[in-house]
């Protein structure tokens, strides 16, 4: 075997190993499930509630996070200013620390600080509420969206924007008619990844919104609650639902995006 073939085999085998490992993990879960009671468990009120809540909160959080990340990433990519590195590091904190620690920080902010208490009292309550789930997911996935979009904007040659300016577009029109269409792949990638990450968010949600059955019970929290009461079959049913629901969601979005682009 020559060196080129060896290299291709080595590279491909990594993909095969990763896919095999993921397949084995999925199979082991599916193998352990008691399929006789699966259908009734999946359609139980509690799990349907968790699926619906997860879908709504993850969609809202990923849409808000991507929308907020676009101008943030654009500023970080296009402008140089003092303290830029410090700001970038601050924005990366949710990625660096564990989600549970991020949840703690949020809980302390809303319960122990003047500003947090003021927001909770006068605007919106986040602790142990559905809005808390969205905020926790938003905080975690916003950093991810900023990272993806900053690298997208970094890759866009500024000459396109310059040409648009000379054709008569002001900065706002240039942003909407040139920068956003140029960044469309990155924006869609950010939406997909943030949605998937928000669907699986657990630590920050648990700490800020709590794990109240039928109130703040997302799919990962439903797994946690099932395991807490030693109901392994229900936990595995939710795991399967989470895998199928998130996986098929991603697959559908990928197919739709391929058709659009």
């Amino acid at each position: 075997m020559n060196k080129n073939k060896l290299f291709t085999a080595a590279v491909t085998s990594t993909l095969v190993c990763a896919a095999l490992f993921a397949g084995i993990l999925v199979f082991s879960v599916l193998n352990y499930i008691n399929w006789n009671g699966f259908h009734s468990l999946l359609l139980s009120k509690e799990i349907l509630f968790a699926i619906k809540l997860s879908f709504i909160t993850a969609t809202v959080a990923s849409l808000l996070a991507t929308a907020a990340a676009i101008p943030t990433a654009m500023t970080l990519s296009r402008m140089n200013f003092p303290g830029k590195n410090i700001i970038e590091t601050l924005l990366d904190i949710p990625i660096i620390i564990s989600p549970i620690a991020m949840g703690c920080i949020l809980l302390i902010f809303f319960n122990n600080t003047m500003l947090g208490k003021f927001i909770e009292k006068n605007f919106i309550t986040f602790t142990f509420e559905v809005s808390g789930i969205i905020l926790a997911q938003f905080i975690i996935v916003f950093a991810l969206a900023v990272r993806i979009l900053k690298s997208t904007f970094d890759d866009i040659d500024e000459r396109y924007e310059k040409v648009m300016r000379t054709l008569g577009a002001n900065k706002i029109k240039t942003f909407f008619y040139c920068t956003i269409p140029m960044a469309r792949h990155g924006i869609i990638a950010a939406l997909i990844l943030t949605w998937a990450r928000a669907m699986g968010e657990f630590g920050a949600t648990l700490t800020l919104a709590g794990a109240s059955a039928m109130k703040t019970e997302t799919l990962p929290l439903a797994i946690h609650l099932s395991l807490a009461k030693a109901d392994v079959q229900q936990a595995l049913t939710v795991v399967a639902a989470l895998m199928v629901f998130t996986g098929s969601g991603l697959l559908l979005v990928r197919k739709a995006v391929k058709k659009i682009i």
Binding site: R159, K162, M164, R165, T166, L167, M182
Partner: protein, 364 residues
Amino acid sequence: MIKIEKLFLKAGEFNLKNINLNIKNGEYCVILGPTGSGKTLLIECIAGLKKINSGKIFLNEIDASKLPPEERNIGYLPQDYALFPFLNVKENISVGLKLQKCRFEEINTRVADIAETLSINHLLNRDIKALSGGEKQRVALARALIVNPDILLLDEPYSAVDSSMRRRLWWQMKALHQKTQKTIIHITHDFQEAFALSECVHIIIDGKIEHSCRSKDIFKKTTNKKVAEFLGICNMASVKEYKIQDNKILIKCPSNVLHLPLNCNIRDGQTINFGILPDDIKIIFKNDSTDDENILKGKIISTIENGNSCELFVKIPDLDGICREGVIEIKAFPAQDEKKLFKEGNEIKVSLPPDKIHVFMENK
């Protein structure tokens, strides 16, 4: 008319320094300079894409120094064309008209007109990815021209096309300029391109305009060493000991006296530089008349054949210590029977015609 007064711009470690330019309406002007000399920065300043630190830019006698790019009515064709990949050819060309909120019928008419002028009608429904380099260039030009700009800025417009296509596009551009009479500022590092297309040339080196002239005078009125080096006047020499007599500079060599034209102000004792293009050195064959001046003897040390031309590196003992260890480069176009004379080790006689020698001052 474009008038630039005392323009300064600091861009990181690089500066544009005291740029002064006057370009008449309808003129085709080339800004010529090596890579990294500040050409693109300069036209970006004219287009309003870079904020200048000081100085003034007047466009049609209006101070445009602080106007945003969208209010300068300038067409810009960047290097690599920057055609929008998410739009097809027709959509690319019509972007400017859509921004002006032109009616659908007007957009169609004007796109058809410009496509006809640039012979790109057949490309209108194509995807950008399916275009060749020359086609992309014409589409980008159509996109810039369709909004009827007062000034057209071309940033190395032929860098992405092959040399035969480049020459065809030169003549198309020349014809287009004659037809539209637009003021064009074209930047390039290729002085053949500058010579072929422009009426006036400004040479920029290290962020400073070093030389401005009509394009036909580009090799004649060069009195600056940096410019001469950029133009390829590679046979450069410098001397401290010389005599000025009868409006000529005389340089004493071991077996000859070189006569140089006195075409710039020289203060006593000032070091002078002089140079000659490799093609301007004359090779003297046995049967040639001997009324040539500055005849020097030498030995061929290396030969590079290049199709119908030949580059010779000749060691001239008289120029030892004056010009790069006494070695000069000559470009010759020998007849078939003369080629055998150009062998390494052969003795050769050359003449440096005084009217072809460029004398320069030391750059400050």
